[in-house]
């Protein structure tokens, strides 16, 4: 397949922005394009995509090029449903997995670790032998080779615990914290196995992207977030000597608290939507890149017009791009209901307003 995009320019744009370099031509566009978007652009089902690394890699490249994004990644290769599938397979519990034609597979939360015995006997998956992971890692390698865009590995503890143990995990915090820590430990072990396989198949990642769903007030206290996820991230950092970024999909995130405890180079959160939060964050943490801010897939992107999206991108750029370290992206994964003109309004608005030096009236 022929590339239509100058990926070398995108690589520079994204990684220079994250590192705070001044040599950036314009604000980068990172697209959260999941399987749903790739299916929408290519017409393939999820199972078709997952079955062939070559087809999957080409489909991903086509989609991200179509969206005119500066980023590219294998959407299922993170510590979410794919990791639950790996655990389900290693523990003969594939009934816990539900497949869909045009959206990512899901795990029935709590079905894999229903009780203490399930946790005690939980087998750690071998990612090198799991078909979905083998194909996903090979896909990441092919994307690396074709676009020269170094693939970022995504790891997590809580999002996996959440899949395996479901609502019981939250009750365990109060009634059996040792059992919960045992499960976290096993998930950590599995994440390190994933990292080893990533190194072997894809190569050294430039960054680690933590899908840290625990860092949210609606889920747990900050102390619990540090206990059940934070301490494991610190251990990952000790072993993986590359800069870490934090994603948090929550309505009341602990970003300001967590960056005091853990050294992240960038944060990416879906909320709060108020731009003032991010203006203050940038002021207080000028060396941490902000990915996203407040372009909302459930507001202007879903119900607005391309002009509304353009206005929102402009607002984000005016407030967060001067001085660098800002990557523009919608706050969460792009769903079916968002129109293509609204999605494409983001790179168009960046082209209009996002060239450095930022100079908007």
């Amino acid at each position: 397949m022929n590339l239509v995009k100058d990926w070398a320019a995108s690589v520079n744009r994204i990684f220079r922005t994250i590192s705070g370099s001044k040599r950036v031509d314009k604000v980068p566009f990172l697209a959260f394009a999941g399987e749903q978007m790739i299916c929408r652009v290519t017409g393939k089902t999820v199972k078709e995509l997952y079955s062939s690394p070559k087809m999957y890699a080409n489909a991903i490249i086509s989609t991200f090029e179509f969206l005119n994004a500066d980023s590219i990644n294998v959407p299922n290769a993170y510590a979410g449903p794919s990791e639950a599938l790996a655990f389900a397979e290693a523990n003969n519990k594939l009934d816990a997995i539900k497949w869909f034609d045009y959206q990512p597979l899901m795990c029935k939360q709590g079905d894999i670790c229903k009780n203490e015995e399930d946790i005690d006997n939980l087998e750690i998956p071998d990612h090198g032998k799991n078909n979905l992971w083998k194909n996903s890692l090979t896909t990441a390698k092919l994307i690396n080779e074709k676009t020269k865009f170094p693939q970022v590995i995504s790891l997590s503890i809580w999002s996996v615990v959440h899949e395996l143990r479901g609502i019981e995990a939250y009750k365990d915090m109060r009634r059996n914290p040792d059992l919960l820590l045992k499960l976290c430990e096993k998930v950590y072990e599995s994440q390190m196995d994933l990292y080893e396989n990533w190194l072997e198949i894809v190569g050294m990642p430039p960054n680690v992207f933590i899908a840290g769903y625990s860092f949210n007030r609606h889920m747990m206290s900050f102390q619990d977030a540090m206990r059940y996820e934070g301490q494991f991230i610190k251990r990952m950092m000790d072993k993986i000597k590359v800069p870490f970024m934090l994603h948090n999909c929550g309505t009341a995130p602990y970003f300001t608290e967590v960056v005091k405890e853990i050294d992240f180079i960038a944060v990416n959160g879906s909320h709060p939507l108020d731009i003032e939060y991010w203006i203050n964050f940038k002021k207080n943490h000028p060396k941490i890149a902000i990915i996203g801010a407040n372009i909302d897939v459930s507001r202007e992107m879903l119900t607005g017009t391309p002009a509304d999206v353009e206005e929102k991108v402009k607002e984000n750029i005016i407030n967060l791009a001067p001085g660098g370290r800002y990557i523009c992206c919608p706050v969460c994964s792009l769903p079916w209901g968002v129109s293509m003109p609204n999605i494409l309004a983001i790179p168009n608005a960046i082209e209009k307003y996002g060239h450095y030096p930022i100079n908007i009236d």
Binding site: H162, V297, S298, L302, T303, G304, P335, W336
Partner: protein, 217 residues
């Protein structure tokens, strides 16, 4: 005096989510001859209210509310069974709830179910990944005062639209609330729901407000 002390202890057990203690204290209160309504309103619901207040003050978190929810449910179930006088604890109405098709996330929904049951609602939980047609069929069967559609993922919004459209096209007049962290006022209007909530506790409060404003059943 002893009765008051027993109810205070029960309230405390509910507040800290100690299910075993709550069961023990409900038994003790019944033995003392305290009326079921008094046990429910004077201890169980007071404990729940206090837990909610602590949650709003950042003293309590989801794990604490879930533990409280479990204790409430165990206590009210025992109360109903032991007295065999269900009329004494009247149902506040039936609520139909479920996570929409294509989404299996259910933690917020489970919290809402647990707390609403504890508040005296009859809650029919359809589980997760529920197709619009199933919501419709059940709504026709049980005629709920309110229908709650839950979903965590951005892609669940379009399924909420589909479900609400189907319910309305079949003249289901129940109030509708949608729940999920990704929702906004704009997406709520798009879905056509009466209200939305971003987390489980907010959902419980808004459901009570919606029903209060519509005069209940």
């Amino acid at each position: 005096m002893k009765e008051k002390e027993s109810l205070e202890k029960l309230k405390g057990a509910i507040l800290v989510g100690d299910t075993n203690k709550a069961i023990e204290l409900v038994k003790e209160s019944i033995k003392m001859g305290i009326q079921a309504k008094e046990i429910l309103n004077g201890a169980i619901l007071k404990g729940a209210e206090e837990a909610g207040k602590l949650y709003e003050e950042d003293e309590y978190f989801l794990p604490d509310l879930l533990m409280t929810g479990d204790a409430i449910n165990a206590a009210t179930e025992l109360l109903k069974k032991s007295l065999n006088k269900k009329s004494e604890i009247e149902s506040k109405g039936t609520i139909l709830i479920g996570t929409v098709e294509g989404d299996v996330h259910d933690i917020g929904k489970c919290l809402v179910v647990s707390l609403l049951q504890g508040q005296g609602f009859n809650v029919v939980d359809l589980g997760s990944d529920v197709p619009p047609q199933v919501f419709l069929e059940k709504a026709k069967e049980i005629n709920p005062i309110l229908i709650g559609l839950s979903g965590l993922m951005t892609m669940s919004i379009s399924k909420m639209v589909e479900t609400v459209q189907l319910l309305k096209s079949e003249n289901i007049t129940s109030r509708i609330i949608i729940g999920g962290g990704i929702l906004s006022r704009e997406s709520c209007e798009m879905v056509g729901a009466d209200d939305y909530a971003k987390d489980g506790w907010e959902g419980v409060k808004k459901i009570n407000n919606l029903l209060l404003n519509s005069g209940g059943e």
